[in-house]
Symmetry: C2
C-alpha cells in the first residue's frame, strides 16, 4: 500500500512548519510569497489533499487531537473547544473531546484512552490537579487554564490573567463603596481560582481594606445550585455582605437568583461581579458585570503551539498570559 | 499476557446482559436477588473490577463509545452528552465526543476516525442528514433527535415528541389570541424540525386558522444571531406578526432581544415560545415559555439500548418517542 502523504511530510519537504502549511492551505496570511509558492508546488507535486485525512488515518497516523475538559455544559469550556476544533480542522486534524465532569478517576481513564488511540497531541482545558500529568509516551500537550500536577517545569501553558481579573472584579465593587465582599471560589484551590483570589486580596489592600478571611468561601462544586444554596445560607445566617465576587458566571447567576428570591436588591444592596463573560451573563434578568476571557485567542494560540510541538519545533516561550477586561453591566 | 476480564465476559458467564451487570455494579435496581448474587459471585471469582478499564483497553477492547453532536455550545446537546457519559461511565465505558459544528464534511471524517479507533458503539445526536449512515463494519449505533440518511429501516432511534411539541407551542399562542405566528426553523428541514412544523400547522387547523406559508421561515444557521437578524428584518419590512414559535431556545432568545431592542413589548405585542428548556430560557430578561425535552430519559435510554446492541441482544422496539411538556413562563 502506497504511503499517504501527510501535512507533516509537506512541511518537511517545504522546510516549513506544519502550522505554516496549514496557514497556506487556508490562505490566512503570515507567510512570505516564496513560502506560499513552495508549499503549494509541493502540495501539487505530491498530490496532497487535506481531505485525504480518512485515508491518511489507515497509514497509522491518526491526525487526531484529544481535548480533555472538566464540564462541557459550561459554555466557557464549550467555546474554547469550538475554537480549538475550528483551528485544528483547518490544519487537517480532527478532535476527540473527553468530558470529565470534574471526576479525577474519569480523567485518568481518558489519559489512557487517548494514549491508546495514538492521538497526535492533547490539549488539557482546566484538567484536574489531582491527576498526575507526565505526558506518557511523549505525546505533545498544551495546558489551558489550570496548572497541572507534574514535576516537569517545561510544560506549555496558557492562561488568562486571572490575578488581574480578580483585582479588576474586586476594584469595581470597592470603587462602588462595597467593603464586605464575599468571594465564591473553588474549594480545590486550582491555580486559576487561587490567582483570582490573590487579585481580590490585592485590590482590597489597594483600598486600605483588610478582607475578612471568612468571606473567601470554597465551594465543593462549581455550579448554579452550589452558589444559590451558599448565598441562601449566608442570608439565613445573617451574614452581612454588600458584594459578591463569583469566580464563574454560573456562580454569579446562582448568587443573583438567590438574592432576588429573598428580595435583596441588586445592585442597590449587594453588587455582583462574575468571571468568563458567557452568554447567560449578558442575557439574564439583571445582566451581570463580569471579567471577559478571550476564548478565541486562547483556542488559536493553543492550536498554534500544539502544531509546533507535533512538528518537533523548539518553543522558546512556554508560558502565556492573555489579557482580561471588565465588562460592566447592571449588577455593579 | 493474561487476558483481562471485561464486563461482557462477566455478563456472558452470568447469563445476563451487560446492562444488567452494570446495574448490579452500581446497585440501581431492576434485577432479581438471584441475578445480583450470581453476578457479584462471578465478578469476585474473576477478580473483575470496572476500574480495570485501562488495562482492558490493551487487550484490543476499547470500551470506548463515540458520540457525534452538531454543536456542544448549545446546552441542550451538552446536557444529553453529560447524561450519556454518566451512564456509560457507570457501565465501564469512556466516551469520545465529536463536535461537528454542523459541518457535514467534518461529520464524515469523524465517522472514519471513530471507526478507526475501534469504538464499541456510537451515538449520533442530531447528525447531519446529508451524511450517509450505513454503520460501517457493523459498529452498533443509536440515533437521537434527527433521523439519519440511511437506506436501513431497522435503526435504533430516540426522539422527543416533536409533533406534539410544535402543537403545544402553537396552541399556547393561539389560545392567547395570536393569529399571525412566525415559525423560525432550520432550512435543512431535519426530521425534528419538520415534525415541529407539522404540529404547528395542526394546531392552527384546530383553531380554524390557515397558517401563512410565508410565516414558516427556514434559517441557514441555528443561532442567536440568525434569529436576531431575521426578526429585525421582519420588523424593518413591516411584516405584521403577533407570535414567534422558535424551534430552539437560542432562536427564541435572539427573537426576544430583537423585539425588545425595537421597543416591541413581549408578551403584550408579540408572544414567544421556544424549544428545549435550556437554562438561558429560564434566567433571561423575560423568562421564555418553552417546550421541555427530557434529556435525562434520553441519555439513559440511549445508553441502555446501545449496551444491549453491543451485547448482541435483539431489540424488539427500535423507535422511541419521549413525551414533552409546555413550560409556561413570561413570554406568553
Amino acid at each position: 500500500m502506497k504511503k499517504q502523504v501527510t501535512i507533516k511530510d509537506i512541511a518537511k519537504l517545504a522546510g516549513v512548519s506544519v502550522a505554516t502549511v496549514s496557514r497556506v492551505i487556508n490562505g490566512n496570511g503570515r507567510y512570505s510569497k516564496d513560502t506560499e509558492e513552495r508549499v503549494l508546488r509541493i502540495i501539487k507535486e505530491h498530490n496532497y489533499s487535506p481531505n485525504m485525512l480518512g485515508k491518511g488515518l489507515r497509514t497509522n497516523k491518526t491526525n487526531t487531537i484529544g481535548i480533555v475538559v472538566p464540564d462541557i455544559t459550561n459554555e466557557f469550556f464549550a467555546r474554547i473547544i469550538q475554537e480549538v476544533e475550528k483551528n485544528l480542522f483547518r490544519a487537517g486534524y480532527t478532535t476527540l473531546v473527553c468530558n470529565t465532569s470534574e471526576n479525577p478517576e474519569l480523567e485518568k481513564r481518558y489519559l489512557e484512552v487517548l494514549n491508546l488511540n495514538r492521538v497526535s497531541g492533547t490539549i488539557y482545558i482546566a484538567g484536574d490537579t489531582r491527576v498526575k500529568h507526565e505526558e506518557p509516551r511523549g505525546i505533545p500537550a498544551v495546558y489551558i487554564d489550570r496548572w497541572p500536577s507534574t514535576t516537569r517545569k517545561d510544560i506549555v501553558f496558557i492562561e488568562s490573567d486571572n490575578f488581574e481579573g480578580g483585582r479588576l472584579a474586586a476594584q469595581e465593587m470597592l470603587k462602588c463603596g462595597c467593603r464586605r465582599i464575599i468571594f465564591l471560589t473553588d474549594e480545590r484551590r486550582t491555580s486559576a481560582h487561587q490567582s483570582r483570589c490573590e487579585g481580590y486580596i490585592r485590590a482590597h489592600r489597594e483600598f486600605g481594606v483588610v478582607p475578612d478571611e471568612r468571606f473567601i468561601i470554597g465551594l465543593s462544586e462549581i455550579s448554579f445550585d452550589a452558589a444559590y444554596n451558599e448565598v441562601i445560607r449566608l442570608i439565613d445566617n445573617n451574614v452581612k455582605f454588600d458584594g459578591i465576587f463569583a469566580s464563574t458566571d454560573w456562580l454569579a447567576l446562582g448568587s443573583l437568583v438567590a438574592l432576588e428570591s429573598r428580595g435583596i436588591k441588586v445592585p442597590e444592596q449587594v453588587k455582583i461581579v462574575g468571571f468568563d463573560n458567557i452568554s447567560i451573563s449578558k442575557h439574564c434578568s439583571t445582566p451581570i458585570t463580569t471579567i471577559n476571557q478571550n476564548v478565541t485567542q486562547m483556542g488559536e494560540l493553543a492550536v498554534d503551539l500544539l502544531l509546533k510541538l507535533i512538528d518537533g519545533k523548539e518553543i522558546d516561550k512556554k508560558y502565556y498570559v492573555l489579557p482580561v477586561e471588565l465588562v460592566k453591566r447592571s449588577t455593579t
